[in-house]
């Protein structure tokens, strides 16, 4: 019983840990896509931010400076995407793919050139890495059965960025539905003509959305290289940007749904790690690769049939041109 409880706690703790970058990236995508700019470059932005953050934190020995650099790097790429797809009215998919490739190559080349550790950044220690935050009362509650361990493992003991990610969920909902910015953002993704004729600049709204996206992707990247891991490793996003995109569609572009979708994918990931090398009843040992593939397989299955029709923002992917 105790052992089962322990396993459950570990799995849930892993779920939270693994879903944080997904939540941040998916919310980033949400801002961008609700404004009508599709962004498949979440992965690339996250990766570049992870590298930039890891490198800066190693050089300056400061996690917060690293975070700042991570955000700037991601923001820079987001603005490139914005320039290509808003100002130049280019194809948003092509631009996103380009950003993914640039990030994949540039991080390794620059990493090798600067640090000569095979594309890694130096390991972060002490202040150069985000540390887990112990919430008050952890000790006081430690002796209470169930509640104590739950508090210690699931509520307390996470990184600042983790709390930030979960706080962003209701905050994003509030911004979208209770502020002028949110009203205009949603409108510009559905019918930019309505926004334009109401005397609001479509270009400005979309750039603002893309900037929000860049900042959140940057934080997601920083989380990967400076919180869960102690440094950047090449290709460390490992498709999380795409999973986040899947979660966004799965959640029908709604913030609270996004959180649950990301938790689900995080849970599958955590389960995969837990079951690696374990022998399951009836099936026997499951190959590691199968468990690693599970979240992706489930994504396909879920997206293919179980969520009903996901209707994207109507003006999504279409550059705005005043009709003549």
């Amino acid at each position: 019983m105790d052992q089962a409880f322990g396993i459950m706690l570990v799995t849930l703790e892993g779920t939270i840990r693994l879903s944080v970058p997904l939540i941040l990236a998916a919310l980033a995508g949400l801002f961008s896509e609700r404004s009508g700019v599709f962004d498949i470059g979440l992965e690339g932005k996250m990766l570049a931010a992870a590298f930039g953050g890891g490198a800066a934190a190693a050089v300056f020995q400061s996690a917060y400076l690293g975070l700042g650099v991570a955000i700037l790097v991601s923001l820079g790429l987001a603005l490139v995407h914005g320039f290509a797809s808003i100002t130049q009215r280019g194809n948003q998919i092509v631009s996103g793919v380009a950003i993914n490739f640039i990030a994949l190559g540039a991080t390794v080349i620059l990493g090798q050139a600067w640090f000569r550790q095979g594309g890694r950044t130096p390991a972060l220690t002490g202040d150069s890495r985000f540390q887990a935050v112990e919430l008050p009362f952890t000790d006081a509650l430690a002796d209470i059965p169930f509640l104590g361990p739950i508090y210690a493992n699931l509520i307390s003991g996470h990184f600042v960025l983790t709390y930030f990610a979960f706080a962003m969920v209701p905050f994003t909902w509030w911004v979208l539905h209770r502020t002028r910015f949110g009203l205009r953002l949603r409108a510009v993704g559905e019918n930019p003509g309505a926004v334009d004729t109401a005397g609001i600049s479509v270009t400005r709204m979309r750039y603002l959305a893309v900037i929000c996206c860049g900042i959140l992707c940057g934080i997601a990247g920083a989380y990967l290289s400076m919180a869960v891991a102690a440094g950047f490793v090449k290709g460390m996003t490992a498709g999380k940007g795409f999973i986040a995109l899947a979660a966004l569609i799965f959640a029908k572009w709604r913030p609270v749904n996004v959180m649950f979708a990301c938790l689900l994918f995080g849970f599958l990931d955590a389960l995969g790690i837990l079951l690696q090398g374990q022998s399951l009843p009836l099936i026997g040992a499951v190959p590691v690769q199968f468990m690693q593939a599970l979240p992706y397989v489930l994504t396909v299955v879920l997206l293919a049939g179980f969520i009903g029709k996901a209707i994207p923002p109507k003006a999504g992917g279409v550059p705005y041109v005043k009709e003549r």
Binding site: R178, E190, G193, A198
Partner: protein, 511 residues
């Protein structure tokens, strides 16, 4: 009463090689309804977009209430008290009425206060102008008439004194249009100035005080409505005399060529779009189907022509059944002498990126006449296209020109030429003159009558009631997927209008 609300002096605007507005002068008196009429592409919408700050004029000045202003963007126009109701509504469909009205006029960064104010203001406007609408209703669930009302409310909410309406009746039923006219009348009485853009002469005569006529980018005349006539305006619009009513003799119907029995069709969502429809079309007659867009006419046409499959029912073409519930095939039906002019020439009738001659044989390209073994015989295709361009007065008569570069009227003629000259037994036509200028309408109508007189069975669907009335020998009215009545072509417009609104017993509804 005599002061000017708006004055335009020497407005000029070009888009590349297209000179959309040439040295336009216009004076609109305060507190009047001023009509602007002209054919499609005459430059009416461009002119109004300039006035609303959507485009900037290349030259010319704008005066609002006597003061010269530069309208850089819609914000300036809104501040100057100009509001616009666009032809294609500028509404966010999945937003509520309230959210749409507030958009761009929210007051604070956080919406709370704005919402309270907008609710109060909507209530006031509702009482003042009797513009009732539920502020919490979602736009896409409202009928178009109400959506348009939201557009008007949006303008009034921003304090508009001058209201521009761009082709406002195109999407409305006759009853809804009448209601709109009453609203406009009331707005005028409250001192608002209204600019009413349309290509329908009847509407100009019905509600405007003054009317300005545009032709090919120029303002050709301004008249007091009481001192002009439909004939004069039509002539000014087109630049020559036009026949407004097609001349046609008695029809001489013969055998039934197309017969539809108990046809039912569902759309992709499983909603019944055509509900147990039966009709016959005889050789030598035109059967017109009237109705507001979206009442199943499109689905009916597509099913008869083999594009969409039916749930149940029978269709026979020249006494031979068409497998409408199974795999009826448009290509096969064409071989069986059914020609189809689709409702939407851009999506179904033409490939806009093709050259004219390629579109002229589209769907008939298997004809040995155009083939050289497995290859297309380009020489004979172009020769054929050249001939039909002459016969159907397609301008410019350049068969190598990209189809997208032809005007709407000429594009429609390309489709008509292709379908009519094959000597079909049954001709199915949807919206023959949508987006087509008056001159071309006259030509197209004559051709349709000629087809009838040559003994073809013609099934005509149009949302233009005038067109249905002037061409048809029998009128069927479609509402919510059903045929709700059959009338002779001389039935009154109000009678047909009530049927189109689904009111089958006019006596009750006439208050």
């Amino acid at each position: 009463m005599d002061s000017l609300a708006i004055e335009l002096r020497g407005i000029d605007k070009s888009f590349g090689a297209v000179h959309a507005n040439k040295d336009i002068n216009l004076q609109v008196r305060r507190g009047t309804i001023h009509g602007i009429i002209g054919e499609n592409g005459a430059g009416k919408s461009t002119l109004m977009s300039i006035l609303y700050g959507f485009y900037q004029a290349d030259a010319g000045d704008i005066f609002v209430g006597g003061d010269k202003i530069v309208i850089r963007d819609p914000n300036v126009a809104i501040e100057a008290g100009i509001g616009m109701v666009h032809q294609h509504f500028m509404l966010v469909e999945n937003f509520s009425v309230l959210e749409n009205v507030m958009l761009g006029a929210e007051e604070n960064a956080i919406l709370n206060k704005g919402i309270t104010r907008a609710r109060a203001e909507l209530k006031r406007l509702e009482e003042e102008y009797s513009l009732e609408v539920n502020p919490d209703a979602i736009i896409e669930e409202l009928p178009v008439g109400l959506q348009q009302r939201v557009e008007i409310l949006k303008a009034l909410y921003r304090g508009a004194d001058i209201l521009i309406l761009d082709e406002p009746t195109g999407v409305l039923t006759p009853a809804e249009a009448d209601h709109l006219f009453r609203i406009l009348e009331q707005l005028r009485q409250q001192g608002k100035t209204i600019i009413f853009i349309t290509h329908k002469l009847r509407e100009i005569m019905a509600i405007t005080d003054e009317v300005s006529v545009m032709r090919r980018g120029e303002m050709v005349a301004t008249r007091k409505t009481s001192e002009t006539s439909v004939e004069e305006l039509a002539e000014l619009m087109v630049g020559r005399r036009v026949l407004l009513r097609v001349e046609k003799g008695e029809s001489k119907p013969k055998d039934v060529q197309l017969s539809v029995e108990n046809l039912s069709v569902k759309d992709g969502r499983g909603v019944t779009m055509v509900d147990n429809v039966s009709l016959d079309v005889r050789a030598g007659e035109i059967v017109g189907i009237a109705g507001v867009a979206g009442n199943g006419q499109s689905e009916l046409l597509e099913t008869i022509t083999g594009i969409r499959s039916a749930v149940s029912g029978k269709v026979t073409l020249c006494n031979e059944p068409i497998d409408v519930t199974g795999d009826a095939d448009p290509a096969d039906l064409r071989k069986r002498k059914m020609a189809h002019v689709p409702e939407d020439r851009h999506h179904m009738g033409l490939v806009l990126a093709f050259e004219e001659n390629e579109n002229a044989i589209l769907g008939y390209h298997y004809d040995p006449e155009y083939l050289n073994g497995p290859m297309l015989n380009l020489g004979s295709i172009r020769q054929h296209a050249q001939k039909s361009a002459e016969q159907y007065d397609i301008r410019p008569p350049d068969v190598r020109l990209k189809t997208a570069n032809f005007s709407g009227g000429n594009q429609q003629k390309i489709v008509l030429a292709r379908e009519m000259e094959r000597d079909p037994t049954v001709l199915v036509i949807g919206q023959p003159t949508r987006g087509v200028d008056v001159g071309a309408i006259e030509f197209i109508h004559k051709r349709i009558i000629e087809m009838r007189d040559a003994g073809k069975a013609v099934l005509l669907v149009s949302v233009e009631l005038d067109e249905i009335r002037s061409l048809s020998d029998r009128i069927l009215v479609m509402f919510a997927g059903r045929i709700v009545g059959e009338r002779a072509p001389d039935a009154s417009e109000s009678e047909l209008g009530l049927l189109m609104a689904g009111i089958e017993e006019p006596m009750e509804a006439a208050e």
